[in-house]
């Protein structure tokens, strides 16, 4: 991408980040929310790797006739972040699976509606119980 002017990569990062952000806040499906989080995450990865790049540099593996290397530090941070990312995504997916088992749905709205219905049923039962005790 070295032929592209300066901040083009950053603009892509912002676009991807906002796309992921939008999915997370505006869409109701929990699996899709996780994909959105993934998009957001990769945009951060691209941001770091872009920062570490050096014009005319090479991959940071030392050889005799090279002196310019891209910065290894962002690479290290992102390398571990990717693997941690998949682990946390797995935790998220596990939660989604359990939610589906408990509610029969992975749509935020349906889960919320079910919660409200459960609460109301409980309040009703409570009220009936009190009435009985009053008599």
């Amino acid at each position: 991408m070295s032929f592209l002017p300066g901040i083009f990569n950053y603009l892509i990062v912002v676009f991807l980040m906002m796309a992921g952000f939008y999915v997370v806040i505006a869409q109701g499906n929990l699996v899709k929310k996780l994909v959105g989080l993934g998009l957001f995450q990769t945009s951060v990865f691209i941001l770091y790797i872009t920062m570490g790049n050096l014009a005319g540099g090479q991959a940071p593996i030392v050889t005799k006739d090279l002196t310019l290397y891209s910065s290894p530090l962002p690479h290290v941070l992102i390398l571990t972040a990717i693997v941690v990312g998949v682990a946390t995504t797995a935790v998220g997916l596990a939660l989604v699976v359990r939610i589906h088992e408990a509610y029969g749905s992975v749509e935020e709205d349906e889960i919320h509606a079910k919660d409200l219905a459960d609460d109301e049923a409980m309040l009703d039962a409570d009220a009936a119980h009190k009435e009985e005790a009053g008599r």
């Binding site: 912002v14 990769t42 593996i61 891209s70 290894p72 690479h75 682990a87 997916l93 589906h100 749509e107």
Partner: protein, 310 residues
């Protein structure tokens, strides 16, 4: 970018997940282009491989189709638009791509590049920084991965699906697939080992190796029937292996403490400090590799073994 947009718009979650895999692969190509070979490696193995498999198995456990959106997207778009505008404004001041005067190239980077070779004694600077200079961070990351594996196990547990029979694949008897995979698996495992132990010299290291190794077993399980991999590597072993990996890493640290140096100061491992560093990095990477491998495979078992309910 196009793929990302398509992934958001579609409501067939299966297609969304597949597109996300393609997107990861493209990101890996971009990393390669930006000279981050180690990162590209990891992204290709993790993003395009493991994540896709995990997402597909959780789709299998939930639903394939997304419900029609009922809410108004305007508020969300507004928030995203404002945040995006603020970020673009911030980005206008950012140093250009590959600018040598950027802050990233000023502080510790020159030291890593100039002294790394002499102090740690290995050509791959990414591995040197990962395991030696930032050994504490990496230890933390390994523990996070271990904890995430524990969390998945607590949430899902590893169950034996009664319908699961080793040797009987749910996708049927695919002769071509079987023969190709039979040839591929030893190569994948061998490659995983190479990546593990050659990480000091070329691109690679414990994180990538662990994932690649686990991918080999996942592939075996997918093609040769659910539960085949369990016959080869039982979950009980993996519990112990995951703990062992973290233990190796921590053990190296404690050993250097006992030898009178700081925690994770590898120069305590041998009389020659550079040699000690090399040995320490090798051991630590081995610990990382074992931990990552067993956690990834455990997570896969947890998802694949769970029978669909409701």
């Amino acid at each position: 970018m196009v793929i990302a947009v398509a992934a958001i718009r579609l409501s067939d979650l299966f297609a969304v997940v597949m597109l996300f895999g393609v997107y990861s692969l493209l990101t890996a190509v971009l990393f390669m282009d930006l000279d981050a070979v180690d990162v590209a490696f990891t992204e290709a193995a993790v993003g395009a491989g493991v994540t896709t498999v995990l997402m597909l198995s959780s789709l299998h456990l939930t639903k394939r189709w997304e419900a029609l959106p009922r809410r108004n997207p305007v508020l969300g778009l507004l928030v995203v638009g404002v945040t995006g505008a603020a970020l673009v404004y911030a980005v206008l001041d950012a140093p250009g791509l590959g600018d040598p005067s950027a802050a990233v190239h000023q502080h510790v980077t020159p030291r890593y590049i100039e002294q790394g070779q002499a102090e740690v004694g290995m050509p791959n600077l990414v591995t040197a920084v990962l395991a030696s200079y930032r050994g504490y961070d990496t230890f933390g990351e390994t523990v996070v991965i271990f904890t995430a594996g524990l969390a998945v196990l607590l949430l899902l547990g590893i169950q034996d699906d009664p319908r699961m029979r080793p040797g009987v694949s749910t996708i049927g008897d695919q002769v071509v697939l079987r023969s190709v995979v039979k040839v591929l698996i030893p190569l994948i495992l061998l490659y995983g080992l190479y990546v593990q132990f050659h990480g000091d010299f070329g691109a690679g290291g414990g994180f990538q190796a662990g994932v690649i190794f686990a991918t080999g077993f996942v592939l075996y399980d997918l093609v040769f029937g659910d539960g085949s991999a369990r016959a080869v590597v039982p979950p009980g072993w993996l519990h112990r292996l995951a703990a062992l990996g973290v233990l190796i890493y921590g053990g190296v640290g404690v050993y250097s403490l006992l030898a009178g140096k700081a925690f994770l100061d590898y120069s305590a491992l041998a009389t020659d400090p550079v040699h000690g560093q090399h040995l320490g990095v090798l051991l630590v990477e081995l610990g990382v590799g074992i931990a990552v491998f067993s956690v990834v495979l455990l997570i896969f078992y947890a998802f694949s073994g769970r029978g669909r309910r409701r």
